[in-house]
Amino acid sequence: MSLPTFKSVADHALLIEFGTHVDDDLNKKVVALDQVISRAAISGVVETVPALVNLLVIFDPMVTTHTMIQAAVSRLFPLDVTDHGGQAKHRVSVCYDTELSPDLICVARANDMSVNALIAAHLSAELRVSMYGFAPGFAYLSGLPQAIQVPRKPSATRGVPTGRVMIAGPQCLITTVVMPTGWSIIGRSPLQIIQDNPDDPFLFKVGDTVVFDRIERADLPIELQSP
């Protein structure tokens, strides 16, 4: 495997890039590198941030430099991409009630399929946690079937509450904070990605897989049952 590219970010970070197009194979390299860096305990590394095709290493500029981090990371290659075991498989409950899922019908229409076929395709997908991004607990799940993909909406919906299952392009996520979004809401989930556990507060690890189980409206917690 050839070395990735390294780019200096200000005085305290190094961006390590495997490619420029979203691709699960590139993301697997990111995840593998993230794991070997954490095992290597490189002096001065403060934290690493795995994203879709690149990884940011944040370091303490009082202790180390971009050049030293690049040298230490380069020594970790070649990576064994297959050897990053320990991924969990999560089963996540989703209610696809059309009254609670404002974009379900639009997404089905856009893909020229019935709502039931859309739900079946979503339930059949095995998605992969490719990164967290944007806001606390926003886990980007990749691998949505082509047949049910829709682009981002041209304008954002404001104030989308927590627990919404949304899709855009090949990705799916479950909202954890109230925010504006241009993604399409196709379901509602009682899942709490941010857990009440200070030592391990986020349910998913990057690289984990996620599959959905269908539940009915009555199975949702009371506070999620109203439109």
Binding site: V9, D11, E47, V53, I58, P61, T65, V178, P201, V206
Partner: protein
């Protein structure tokens, strides 16, 4: 143990509790938050005689009025030059005062600066999230935002009369019109002329300014076809440029990833100075190499460390106060 109780009589927007920040959770979408001006936050704690920079109140341009409803405590204010009234005492800028039950503390935006900090002699009793009280404005996680009617406690509250008085702020805490950057990491997505323009022309801060970031106004930056780049990690100080060519500097509560290319990144030594500027202030970006950026950070760290040590020294007499001021002035000169 003595406790002082406070009630918020009035708070402008974006007045929140902040400790030094929540480090280590960017991989889960959580930016560090913490003070917009980290040096001023440490300085307020040093001035009031706290050995650790724990939680403090970050006051925005909107201002804050607190009422002490019981107990008493010494408190210090540091940050931009805000006007300060504590009980009957009126002053401005960096100051240490004692507040007693029935008195009010009022901070209002003054001559310069967007953020000021109030640190108490004692410990603010606050909720933590992920080990930190810092309030993340987008989610509300952390100890929270101060709004009218909110009450809070300072536990182990102390009166430290020897610390009371005004302190001239050291120059390292002021603003500057030149902000150092390292170009990239996505400068390849810009027309080369735009990168050049970015380093040569002046930009103005706009009032699209909150704890997540500040939008700039200036010459248009031309993106190549870069609107579909994969979402990439963001740091405090990243300057991302949206599709319409408008740059935004990301600050303490920044989103952790973004799909807009980042033309440059502000040095950690300068990003808080930028955050202290106000809408319509003018800024010039100066590109430095990554090596020079590290050298600058190390020099800045040494100055900050020395400044905090001087501020932490008790000011028992006027002679000592004057000495402290001279020492701080000397350090600033060496930095310039």
């Amino acid at each position: 143990m003595k406790t002082a109780r406070f009630k918020v009589s009035f708070a402008g927007p974006l007045v929140s509790f902040q400790d030094k920040g929540r480090i280590g959770h960017l991989r889960f979408g959580v930016s560090s938050s913490g003070p917009m001006d980290r040096l001023a936050h440490r300085a307020a704690h040093a001035l009031v005689g706290n050995s650790n920079a724990g939680s403090a109140i970050e006051v925005s341009l909107g201002g804050l009025i607190l009422e002490c409803i019981s107990g008493e405590a010494t408190l210090a204010v540091a940050g931009g030059e805000f006007s300060v009234q504590c009980g009957a005492t009126k002053t401005s800028g960096w100051t240490t005062q004692t507040i007693h039950a029935g008195e009010k503390l009022t901070l209002r935006a003054g001559v310069w600066g967007s953020w000021s900090y109030i640190a108490f002699a004692g410990q603010l009793a606050l909720n933590k999230w992920l080990g930190s009280t810092s309030t993340h404005s987008m989610s509300g996680f952390g100890a929270g935002t101060l709004i009218g009617g909110v009450e809070f406690e300072v536990q182990k509250a102390e009166v430290r009369e020897a610390r009371v008085g005004d302190t001239p702020y050291p120059e390292v805490a002021g603003t500057t019109d030149t902000i150092r950057i390292v170009i990239g990491p996505q400068d390849q997505h810009f027309d080369p002329q735009s990168v050049d323009i970015f380093c040569k022309k002046l930009f103005k801060l706009t009032d699209a300014f909150d704890r997540m970031g500040v939008q700039l106004q200036g010459p248009e930056l031309v993106l190549k076809n870069a609107l579909s780049i994969p979402s990439e990690p963001i740091v405090r100080g990243s300057i991302q440029v949206s599709g319409d060519g408008i740059p935004t500097v990301l600050l303490a509560d920044h989103q952790t990833t973004g799909g807009y290319p980042k033309i440059a990144t502000v040095l950690s030594a300068d990003v808080d100075r930028l955050a202290q500027m106000r809408a319509h202030d003018v800024v010039r970006f100066k590109a430095v190499s990554a090596e020079d950026a590290i050298a600058a950070t190390r020099a800045h760290h040494a100055i900050c460390q020395a400044t905090i040590e001087k501020l932490a020294a008790p000011k028992a007499s006027l002679t000592e106060k004057l000495q402290n001021q001279n020492l701080i002035g000397g350090i600033v000169n060496a930095y310039d």
